[in-house]
């Protein structure tokens, strides 16, 4: 099979970057396997417990960039007990012991400690990029270690993490010789930072393209920062409070006009009406706009703003925009590809009642390029879903969340089976789907038959019988992640095709009808699955009879065997 010398093959492999493609290459023959693994730079481990760090390092010695994901998705919604797991320290420790020249580490839903960050900072001379998404367990002390020791740091990106803020001087820990920053995002930090240190850091970072501030950075500081960094492409505004008639505000407006490269805006944690005019000059260039934290912006202002944003491709917004506002989006943002509408009811806003199916239909008619949707709404109808399905056949991600999770079609009082059925039938490239509303087993039949590319499915308060789950397991050949809560699926569904779980990353079932006995049977039979059972912070009583229903079950395929870092209330069968 060796027509070309190894060097040539390696060269060709260099052009193949997708992990799936590289996995395929490695299966062709032993030589290709060896060449591929020795040249792979970037590895994604979708479940940190699926394999040991040692095995990863052994296989990919030239690793430069590692992405790890820890807790199951439903941990985002407080369904996973505290202390469950997802600790990154063993990985950092294992990497530090070897010759791996780690440059980038990206973690999602993992527990990160200051010790881990300190070890990371000290161990890898060429470390360039740290991205933490929805992680917890560390403090600003750990960040200080990164700032102080990573001499070539390009990226420090903290998104929605729970960080203990010691209000220290972590920003001041970036040495004067650090001039390599390209991206700095500390929007999720709660404490104040040294503004002077920040301004000096920005001033000596000519390559800085992305800067996201937290809510403690006032407008006046923002203005000074933008003066130093007119080349910014992505800006996250902290506080946007100021008197629109003040001099600071006028200066800010004049400074923003100079930011000709700016295409992405986010933040606005504090904002007053009338202040948004300052950003009007950059609106026409914006391709990404995230106003989903900005509870202070009135619908009327949102509409005025959006009317100026003709090039938007990604929009994250709160539902106070209303159906009419979404109509404005539809008629203005013809290039829109991704839309997320978040519920304002969470933060106790009593305004006009959110969005409904009307807004979504308007979007589907106006934004023909839409491929990713997350939509929290008051209600949805089958007719609307059928229309959306016809208008957006290229949809890849479709996540609907009706605030009342079992609400039927308000016009017909029917379940939403037909509507979602239309979605899966029409959107042939659909990879991710979240269901909502009153749903019977029928919708799962449709999903099993039509959703051929589906990789992730989220189910809540849906279905009537085991058949629902069985349709999905039987039909969706590419399914990787299945998460189910509060649905009447039990042992027959769980055990119907045990081998299927080895083709998937994980299965989550909570508040369903699965029993301990069935979980034990599954764990017994399938040695390459870890089956975990847990209840909320109570120690699971291992002596109960097998017929008792399980509160929460999480199972995943693994080559690493049982993990030994689980807390008392997590029972690994």
């Amino acid at each position: 099979m060796n027509i070309f010398p190894d060097e040539v093959i390696e060269q060709i492999f260099g052009y193949v970057t997708s992990q799936r493609d590289r996995n395929a290459l490695s299966l062709v023959c032993k030589n290709w396997h060896k060449l591929e693994r020795c040249s792979r730079k970037s590895v994604l481990i979708g479940n940190c417990y699926s394999i040991s760090p040692e095995r990863v390092i052994e296989r990919f010695p030239e690793l430069k960039s590692l992405t790890l994901k820890g807790k199951p998705h439903f941990a985002d919604f407080n369904l996973v007990p505290h202390g469950w797991g997802g600790f990154v320290y063993p990985w950092i420790e294992a990497l530090a012991k070897t010759k791996v020249d780690l440059e980038k580490l990206k973690l999602k839903r993992m527990v990160v400690t200051d010790e881990g960050l300190e070890l990371l900072a000290r161990s890898f001379m060429n470390f360039k990029s740290l991205v933490l998404l929805s992680c917890e367990g560390f403090t600003t002390t750990g960040l200080a270690a990164i700032a102080a020791n990573c001499r070539f740091l390009r990226e420090l990106d903290l998104q929605e993490n729970e960080v203990d803020d010691h209000k220290g001087q972590w920003l001041s820990c970036f040495p004067d010789c650090c001039t390599s920053l390209v991206s700095l995002n500390f929007a999720c930090l709660k404490g104040e930072i040294n503004l002077g240190a920040l301004e000096r850091l920005v001033a000596r970072s000519p390559n800085l393209k992305s800067l996201r501030l937290n809510h403690t950075v006032p407008l006046s500081a923002l203005q000074r920062i933008l003066m130093q960094a007119p080349q910014l492409v992505d800006l996250g505004i902290g506080s946007f409070i100021h008197d629109p008639h003040s001099e600071v505000y006028t200066r800010l407006k004049n400074t923003i006009i100079k930011c000709k490269s700016m295409t992405s805006l986010s933040g606005f944690f504090e904002v007053l009406p009338g202040c948004l005019r300052a950003i009007y000059p950059v609106c026409m260039n914006l391709t990404a706009l995230n106003l989903s934290y900005a509870a202070g912006i009135h619908c009327r202002e949102l509409i005025k703003l959006i009317r100026r944003c003709g090039k938007l491709q990604r929009l994250w917004i709160m539902d106070c925009i209303g159906d009419y506002g979404l109509g404005v989006v539809a008629s203005t943002c013809k290039d829109l590809q991704e839309l997320r509408v978040f519920p304002s009811v969470l933060i106790g806003l009593n305004g006009p009642a959110g969005v409904s199916e009307k807004g979504l239909v308007a979007i589907s008619m106006g934004c023909t390029k839409l491929h990713s949707l997350l939509y929290f709404c008051q209600q949805m109808t089958n007719a609307a879903l059928i229309t959306v399905a016809k208008n957006c056949p290229n949809c890849i991600r479709f996540r609907l969340c009706i605030l009342d999770p079992t609400k039927p079609d308000p016009d017909t009082l029917q379940p939403l089976d037909e509507g979602f059925g239309a979605i899966v039938q029409s959107c042939k490239q659909l990879r991710r789907l979240s269901l909502s509303g009153q749903l019977t087993d029928r919708v799962f039949l449709y999903i099993g038959v039509y959703a051929e590319q589906l990789e992730m499915l989220s189910i809540a308060f849906a279905g009537q019988s085991d058949k629902g789950m069985m349709y999905v397991l039987n039909g969706c050949k590419k399914l990787r992640k299945l998460e189910i809560r509060d649905s009447p699926f039990g042992d027959p569904a769980l055990l119907t095709d045990m081998g299927k779980y080895e083709t998937m990353r994980s299965l989550w079932m909570s508040s369903c009808d699965v029993t301990i006995g069935a979980c034990k049977a599954l764990a017994e039979k399938m040695r390459r699955l870890n089956v975990e059972i847990f209840n909320e912070n109570e120690k699971v009583d291992c002596s109960v009879d097998g017929g008792q229903k399980v509160q929460k079950m999480y199972l995943y395929r693994t080559l690493a065997g049982r993990r030994n870092d689980a807390p008392e209330h997590v029972w690994i069968l």
Binding site: F74, R300, I303, F342, L346, I347, L413, Q425
Partner: protein
């Protein structure tokens, strides 16, 4: 083998009876299902009063039946029960980080939005007219009514249509371009933030809350207030 009749996807509007094959027992009410005990909740989300089916009660049946139905209790909000902010754990599925964002300013905003009393007098000027008028916009219920009243007031000039179709015109670029091309006059207004806008660009209620002043100007002059897309079209033509 799957019975393919079952997979027949009826893409028409639902409403006909669901096919009652033996396998899918769709009971009349749409088939409520069993919740395990831990999930028994009274979902009375504290949404706006327009939401008429916010209350869904579920009973706790630890039944072993696979397809049982639980008759939904009365949909109407039970006035006897306090409007509980019933919390299903983890619903709606939003990250804690997002939930914890507190906006102090919001309450201030809401105070500012409340208009004083039942009248809203605004000055109305018309380009070329020698006099100013004042109207109480709260007297009218729609853009059409306002437009008619303005036409009567400044009867010697022709005012472009901003009637009930006015808002829809806004979404329709070609109609808007016609409006701004013609020699008709179009009404514009200054809102609370000091921005000048074309009348009809927001829902009526929002307009009433935010309008401070009206100005009727020539269509061709109002082009600067039009949404950018329309502006681009006009410049091209």
């Amino acid at each position: 083998m799957i019975n393919f009749e079952e997979t027949e996807l009826r893409l028409g509007l639902p409403g006909g009876s669901a096919s009652d094959h033996g396998e899918l027992t769709l009971k009349g009410s749409g088939g409520k299902r069993v919740f395990s005990e831990t999930a028994s909740v009274d979902l009375k989300l504290n949404l706006s009063s327009n939401n008429d089916s916010a209350s869904v009660s579920t009973t706790t049946e630890k039944s072993k039946e696979k397809t049982t139905t639980v008759e939904p209790t009365a949909r109407a909000n039970d006035p006897a029960k306090p409007p509980a902010k019933a919390q299903v754990v983890g619903w709606p599925p939003v990250r804690s980080f997002r939930k914890n964002i507190v906006n102090v300013q919001r309450s201030n905003n809401e105070e500012g939005e409340k208009s004083g009393g039942g009248v809203a007098f605004v000055k109305v000027s018309m380009d070329g007219a020698p006099y100013l008028r004042k109207v109480d916009i709260k007297l009218y219920k729609s853009y059409q009514e306002l437009s008619d009243a303005l036409a009567k007031m400044f009867s010697s000039f022709t005012i472009g249509k901003c009637g009930s179709q006015g808002m829809k015109d806004f979404m329709n670029e070609t109609k808007l371009i016609d409006l701004l091309n013609g020699s008709d006059y179009v009404p514009t207004y200054e809102d609370k933030d000091g921005d000048w806008m074309l009348v009809g660009d927001v829902p009526w209620e929002m307009f009433v809350e935010s309008c401070k002043r009206l100005r009727i100007m020539k269509g061709s002059e109002a082009i600067g207030l039009a949404p950018r897309a329309v502006e681009k079209c006009k410049n091209r033509s």
